[in-house]
């Protein structure tokens, strides 16, 4: 391969890195009205009255909208393929607020200061209700967070709003109680993972304007087509009255897979006819969007003395907050992208419940339930290894799912037809990671000078690659008159380099250079449908569509050439710059042929569109290893080294894949060691700035070493699987076990702060 598997620079990299205007706010017309939101100060309250008179009179205020002025259609803002699994449990504005930060009124003004001033003049009388803040007390609580009778679900997701249950599911293979009873060793523990803030550096933002009577939305989103559909639905408009344009995105991580902001400027534009923009402050980005679902995971593992795991029982409870965005799918991923990493157990049971509370909603965040589940499962595996006095790497190697093995929880499984692992180098990843971290020399602990000890720990993980039989993508490629190509995709490049790797795939099939391909994404008026940049899908789902389209286009070009020049289709070959007869006796340069094809000679511009949707969701695998140093006097933990060895199938662009891994690990380090969204006893978020909510800085990441051991996935484009999400999974359990191996202290509740380590040391050693 000439282009695939090469570390090509991102096609828009230099523009972005030198500060060229490319993001939503850079493109917004200067005269756009500034939109601001009045938000609830209460975690749970009825709105008795809203008085907007004074606010409306402020010079420069264009409009003030309350729940009386906007459509009252229950909808979801979760950007999922139709039919969405998320319950339709939101109104744009409602007279019942369910969390601090819930929107109460929309103000649009000539400038930000005027809008801010008008916000302060809106008088709202609330009847405060007792909020439900502890997610372990939510189910069956007398306080019902969604008392409304008009919640819609598209299919059974186990919603029971009367009991504050947004979603629930049960899956069981074999008879778990019986198998556990027969096991020689049983370990049972409960683990907690906290809510985490996406903290993308570009906050949520969008602007809107009217063009020939249609509403145009320019937004920083991961899924423009879902925005178009869901915003139209919430406004009661046909989707084709909306056009959604996604320019460059300043980070998403799942946080921009919500139609959080678009509807507000849209309403203002529809009301006033004027362009309008909304830019969330960092504080709003923290306290009025979504977060990773906080989760409690209870694990029971049964094994025999030799380390064969016979039973896995995982029960999770997630805090979906005020609304049920992604609550059902997160419960699926927390099982299906986690449990099938072990192939041996006779019985596996999974029970998941997502409960409503009066806090900011949970939602999609890189990993989507899996990192929380992985922390529970892999920590329990490490505790089992300790119980068995067995090296945790050996326990893993004994139990991992092997190539060709089936598991009914794997993505794409159907009743009676479990999906099969068609590509895996997981066991080699474990062996290679051991070598890279020098496991045999370092496990379990080493004393260093003073009061410091070092320990190593590890964990393994899998994920999916797109959502089988749900998500789809189309790609269109055209041959231009000049012999170059135009690739149109509806996929969202979030900065990851999706546009680049898709162009690499097209260039490889068309035997041309990367420079010869113009990529455009994404605009619902111009680019073909794509479900969006989530669920680790773009490389695989959109990539397969691009490969298919490029192959069709090759055939189209050959057919066009044959027709014009009286050749046989079978006798012609496209080698990139020339079309030649197989014997080499005749050739024509592609640019010349292209001109003939589009002109009166050919009257046929070659173009091809292809759509792909996966029947499976082939898992990528990772083995993660941590080395930590712990100060026994203070409990301070320093991460020295983190090693990830990854099987993401064929690596389409090694540099970009490596950065995905390093960035994912850094986010995992943040979640493991300090990131923690905290609320006070009235439900107000305490951690609503980077002063109070720390994300990793350069000094926090230690040394990260990433290596790839590619398998070849038969269904993947050039053999590729996904990379984006699997790389956040192993940090927490690996670091937690490194701490245990260093000190004997086991932390089962993230984040692992020095305080917790210090207390653990005191309890352990006095």
């Amino acid at each position: 391969m000439n282009i695939v598997s090469k570390s090509m620079a991102k096609i828009d990299g230099m523009d972005l890195a030198t500060g060229k205007p490319a993001y939503v706010d850079d493109l917004c017309p200067k005269e756009a009205l500034c939109v601001k939101i009045l938000r609830s100060p209460h975690a749970f309250a009825k709105i008795v009255t809203i008085d907007i008179e004074d606010a409306s009179k402020v010079a420069g205020v264009a409009c003030v909208l309350t729940h009386a002025d906007v459509p009252g259609i229950r909808h979801t803002i979760a950007l999922e393929s139709y039919p969405e699994s998320s319950p339709y449990d939101r109104l744009i504005l409602e007279n019942l607020v369910r969390c601090v930060g819930d929107p109460v009124a929309i103000v649009a003004a000539e400038d930000e200061r005027t809008a801010a001033m008008a916000l302060q003049l809106i008088k709202v009388e609330y009847e405060a209700l007792e909020p439900v803040l502890d997610f372990e007390q939510a189910e069956g609580n007398l306080q019902i967070i969604h008392p409304e009778s008009d919640i819609v679900t598209n299919f059974n997701i186990g919603l029971d709003a009367r009991r504050n249950v947004a979603s629930s599911r049960l899956e069981e293979i074999g008879d778990i109680e019986r198998v556990l009873n027969e096991c020689e060793v049983v370990v049972e523990h409960t683990y907690y993972t906290q809510a985490q803030a996406h903290s993308m550096l570009e906050t949520h933002r969008a602007f809107t304007f009217l063009d020939r009577g249609r509403l145009v939305i320019v937004t920083s989103t991961q899924s423009p087509f879902h925005v178009q559909r869901l915003v139209a639905q919430s406004l009661g408009l046909p989707a084709n009255r909306l056009r959604v344009i996604k320019p460059r995105i300043g980070g998403g991580f799942g946080g921009k897979n919500k139609a959080l902001v678009e509807v507000f400027p849209a309403l203002v534009t529809l009301k006033t006819g004027k362009p309008a923009k909304i830019i969330y402050s960092r504080q709003e980005c923290f306290n009025s969007t979504t977060s990773r679902h906080a989760m409690r995971g209870r694990v029971v593992l049964g094994a025999d003395r030799s380390g064969d795991v016979r039973a896995i029982d995982l029960q999770v409870l997630t805090d979906t907050g005020a609304y049920g965005e992604d609550s059902a799918d997160v419960l699926v991923v927390a099982s299906h992208n986690v449990l099938p990493i072990y192939g041996g157990p006779k019985s596996v049971r999974y029970r998941g419940t997502a409960v409503y509370t009066n806090k900011m909603p949970g939602g999609a965040f890189r990993g989507f339930g899996a990192p929380q589940s992985v922390f529970a499962l892999e920590s329990a595996m490490n505790e089992l290894a300790a119980e068995l006095k067995m090296d945790p790497t050996q326990l893993r190697l004994k139990n991992t799912i092997k190539l060709g093995q089936a598991h009914p929880f794997l993505g794409g499984s159907q009743e009676g037809k479990p999906a099969v692992v068609n590509s895996s180098t997981l066991d080699q990843c474990i062996e290679r990671g051991k070598a890279l971290i020098c496991w045999d020399q370092k496990y379990p602990r080493r004393e260093v000078e003073g009061n410091r000890v070092r320990g190593v720990g590890m964990a393994i993980a899998m994920h999916g690659t797109g959502i089988a039989r749900v998500d789809t993508a189309a790609a269109t490629i055209q041959l231009n008159y000049d012999g170059g190509y135009k690739l149109l995709v509806g996929a969202s490049d979030l900065g990851t380099g999706a546009d680049t790797i898709l162009a690499q795939m097209a260039a490889e099939v068309l035997a041309t250079s990367l420079e010869n391909i113009i990529v455009y994404s994404a605009d619902t008026d111009l680019t073909p449908y794509d479900s969006g940049a989530y669920a680790s899908s773009t490389t695989y789902v959109t990539g397969n569509a691009v490969v298919k389209a490029a192959r069709l286009l090759r055939e189209e070009i050959v057919r066009g050439c044959a027709a014009i020049h009286g050749k046989s289709v079978d006798d012609l070959e496209l080698d990139g710059q020339f079309l030649r007869t197989v014997d080499g006796a005749w050739e024509i340069p592609l640019p010349e042929l292209a001109k003939q094809l589009v002109s009166a000679t050919g009257k046929q511009q070659p173009a091809a569109t292809a759509t792909f949707g996966g029947d499976g969701s082939p898992p990528p695998y990772v083995a993660g290893f941590a080395e930590v140093e712990v100060d026994l006097e203070t409990g301070k933990l320093d991460l020295l080294n983190f090693v990830d060895v990854i099987d993401c199938g064929t690596v389409i662009n090694p540099n970009l894949a490596r950065i995905q891994a390093e960035g994912g690990i850094a986010q995992g380090i943040g979640q493991t060691l300090f990131e923690d969204m905290r609320f006070d006893d009235r439900g107000e978020m305490l951690t609503d700035s980077f002063m109070k909510y720390k994300i990793p800085c350069r000094k926090d990441v230690g040394q990260i070493l990433v290596e790839f051991l590619p398998s070849l996935e038969p269904t993947g484009p050039f053999g590729a699987k996904s990379i984006g999400e699997v790389v956040v999974h192993t940090t927490a359990p690996a670091i937690a076990d490194a701490l245990f191996n260093a000190t004997g202290v086991r932390i089962r509740r993230l984040p692992i702060t020095p305080e917790k380590v210090f207390k653990g040391l005191q309890q352990k050693w006095g």
Binding site: A9, L16, T18, E202, N655, R658, E662, Q667, S689
Partner: protein, 149 residues
């Protein structure tokens, strides 16, 4: 009120309010590389130079910058391209939103530190947050740019 700034060596008379910060003034006047990520002086996105020293423009009142020389990445494109090339060479620019601020800090570091060690680089740039890259690729690129091990 009216202030005079020399932005990228061009004298500009600007009308600002007394509570306006430099980041806002620069953006309002078309310097779109200047971005805000936090409003608590935590992220480094809005880094520009004031009289050749890096400052967080979100925390400098525009009136305090009156009469000063301000440099944004638009004004040092050649130097910026040199740094950017190494970041892009590693794929470490990712979403790019934080990169102009980082590049301005790297260029300032190059003037401040001779042959810095990796530890000194990390320390100098610690105030420039990035949520995408995990920092390792940026360090690889910056070391190559500076020609240090």
């Amino acid at each position: 009120m009216r202030i005079t700034l020399w932005i990228n060596d061009r004298q500009q008379e600007l009308e600002v309010t007394c509570d306006e910060f430099l980041a806002e003034t620069l953006r309002n006047n078309g310097y779109l590389s200047v971005r805000q990520g936090c409003s608590t002086t935590s992220c480094g996105l809005c880094t520009v130079w004031m009289d050749d020293k890096p400052v967080l423009s979100c925390s400098v009142l525009s009136v305090m910058a009156n009469g000063k020389r301000i440099t944004t990445i638009e004004g040092v494109q050649d130097e910026a391209r040199a740094v950017a090339g190494f970041l892009v060479g590693e794929g470490a620019e990712q979403c790019g939103f934080c990169i102009p601020g980082l590049v301005m800090t790297v260029l300032a570091m190059k003037k401040d530190l001779r042959q810095p060690t990796a530890e000194q680089i990390v320390h100098y740039l610690n105030g420039n947050l990035c949520r995408c890259s995990g920092y390792m690729g940026q360090l690889r690129g910056i070391k190559k740019y500076l020609g240090v091990e």
